[in-house]
């Protein structure tokens, strides 16, 4: 019984949240890695692109709610996703044509493009805060819980409850569907293969007749779809706040680099590596040990390795360790 309780405890407080958070990071990291693979620079504006996309989704969700349209138990924001995706594609293409294209044609250093992306980041961030304000916005509707802690206790007779929020399940399922479609596209379709070919060897792709303009356009489209989905899922799960997306840049970049930058499958796993480490290290294990250890060995402290205040330091530490010991990531990626 104690063993079961301890397992449920960890599932409730580590596994379920980490899978949710990991899914959000994975989607973000795949976006960053695609931009790096094809356009060859680290796009710091990505966090704020997610914020912009989510803002559009929220505005349209409010409109739908005001005219009385809803999805029942599912959040209305899911209907608003396509609108958010279209708006994000348009703004991505706008910034590519207005800003990134110039530096690409000049064959600027990747470092210059990073700084340029910082500029785009500030602009996007300002747009979002001017339109929707800097504060917290909740746009979640539909049913909140799939499984409530009390229901679970009554059902199983255990001391520990297992709660699964509907947003957690939606996040995980949407991520799996999105990633499956993406990997199918990249590995099985001619266009997807040509995108990988371009990312691998630009000159030879040109010699094979692959049009770089189309590949770049396609990349922005894919990245915008991923940013909208990742941003909306994160907003549904944790409430929307423009700065939160900027804060997520560090774990997203850490996930990208852990997985091997330029490698989408690596970025997917990288997201979960970061999420499990972050949540696993900041959880207080006291109750867990009380269940498992005999009374005289029970811990007095919280048995929390790192305070949650320092959770970003974990991403940073992983980033540094990976860059020192495996600069091309756990999975094979490009060396940066």
């Amino acid at each position: 019984m104690d063993l079961l309780n301890s397992i449920i405890l960890l599932t409730n407080f580590i596994v379920v949240p980490a899978i949710t958070y990991g899914s959000q990071l994975a989607l973000g990291a795949i976006g960053v890695t695609l931009i790096y693979g094809v356009l060859r620079f680290a796009n710091f504006a990505y966090g704020d692109l997610m914020a912009f996309a989510t803002m559009i989704v929220i505005l349209f969700t409010w409109y739908l709610q005001s005219i009385g349209i809803s999805l029942g138990v599912l959040p209305t924001a899911l209907i608003a996703l396509p609108i958010g995706i279209i708006a994000t594609i348009l703004i991505s293409i706008f910034f590519d044509k207005a800003v990134f294209k110039y530096y690409r044609e000049k064959k600027s250093d990747p470092v210059i493009l990073i700084v340029v992306s910082l500029g785009v980041m500030f602009i996007l961030n300002a747009i979002v805060r001017i339109i929707i304000g800097p504060g917290d916005v909740t746009f979640m509707d539909g049913s909140r819980f799939i499984l409530k802690a009390n229901e679970f206790k009554n059902l199983t007779g255990l001391n520990e409850g297992l709660a699964i929020k509907s947003t957690q399940l939606i996040t995980f399922i949407t991520t799996i569907i999105t990633c499956s479609l993406l990997f199918y596209f990249l590995n099985k379709t001619k266009t997807g293969k040509s995108m990988r070919a371009y990312s691998n060897n630009e000159d030879l792709a040109l010699l094979s007749g692959i049009d770089p303009g189309k590949i770049i356009l396609l990349t922005w489209i894919l990245v915008s779809i991923l940013a909208t989905i990742a941003g909306t899922l994160y907003g549904l799960d944790k409430s929307f706040k423009p700065l939160a997306y900027w804060n997520n840049l560090l774990p997203i970049f850490a996930a990208t680099i852990v997985g091997g930058i330029g490698n989408p499958l690596g970025a997917f796993y990288g997201g979960f590596v970061i999420a499990f480490t972050e949540i696993g290290l900041t959880y207080a294990y006291k109750k867990f040990f009380i269940y498992l250890l005999p009374e005289q060995l029970e811990p007095n402290s919280l048995v929390q390795y790192i305070s949650t205040d320092y959770k970003f330091a974990i991403s940073f530490a992983i980033l540094i360790v990976v860059l020192i010991y495996r600069p091309n990531g756990i999975f094979k990626g490009k060396v940066i």
């Binding site: 293969k193 990988r196 070919a197 990312s199 030879l204 010699l207 094979s208 007749g209 692959i210």
Partner: protein, 233 residues
């Protein structure tokens, strides 16, 4: 002449690397461009392909002047090129490499794939492996097969045997002879002059960016002066 270039002049922005060069190749013929390091062999090939920014001169394919064509359109009209380095997609499987070679072909490419598998049996065996995992000789075969997927009329090779062992070199030259048998015009730049001339119908020797000698493979191999200067005695 099936494929020819005249009065090719050009370089990378500074002084001209090649001046007034000319080359000709018929279908079913192997023609080598030889010469010492820095003679402009690869530059000449890039000029013919249209990927050299600063070049003038005329390039003809089947009597048609293709000067104004972009490199992409030259590929579409039947010219294929294998660069000396980075000539495969290392992160793609062998089969995907071939599929990318056939990127411009609309519709079914299975016939082309099977023809390549016949021509390069090792590729069939390794078709699901990543091309980056293959040995040097196998990579070169993938590179050749990728270039042949479009069913080209002209195949240009930039040092196909650079950095491979003598045994592999013979193997690659044998493959090039087989390609010639498909009625393709093969134009190649080579460092291994003697071995290249052995399989070539004709050859051009460039010296400091200009045509210096030309003739049949046999003639170039047996001329005493050429032997002394370019073939190492």
């Amino acid at each position: 002449m099936f494929f020819s270039a005249k009065k090719l002049t050009g370089g990378y922005g500074g002084a001209n690397i090649i001046e007034d060069c000319y080359f000709e190749v018929e279908r079913g013929e192997i023609v080598s461009i030889l010469g010492p390091n820095g003679a402009g062999k690869s530059t000449a090939m890039k000029a013919m392909l249209g990927i050299l920014n600063n070049s003038t001169g005329d390039v003809f394919l089947e009597g048609k002047n293709i000067n104004k064509m972009k490199p992409q359109d030259r590929i579409k009209s039947g010219i294929s090129f294998v660069p000396q380095t980075n000539n495969i997609f290392t992160e793609l499987t062998v089969r995907e490499n071939l599929e990318m070679g056939a990127f411009l072909i609309e519709g079914d490419i299975n016939d082309r794939l099977n023809e390549m598998f016949d021509l390069f049996p090792i590729i069939k065996e390794k078709s699901d492996q990543f091309a980056g995992e293959l040995s040097g000789g196998q990579r070169q075969q993938v590179a050749l097969a990728r270039a042949l997927m479009t069913d080209p009329k002209v195949l240009m090779l930039d040092e196909p045997t650079a950095g491979v062992s003598p045994v592999v070199m013979d193997e690659i030259f044998q493959h090039i002879l087989n390609i010639k048998g498909k009625n393709i015009a093969v134009l190649m730049v080579e460092q291994n002059a003697r071995q290249a001339l052995d399989i070539s119908d004709r050859g051009y020797i460039l010296v400091t960016g200009r045509n210096a000698y030309e003739g049949s493979g046999e003639y170039l191999l047996n001329d005493n002066e050429i032997k002394r200067s370019f073939l190492g005695g």
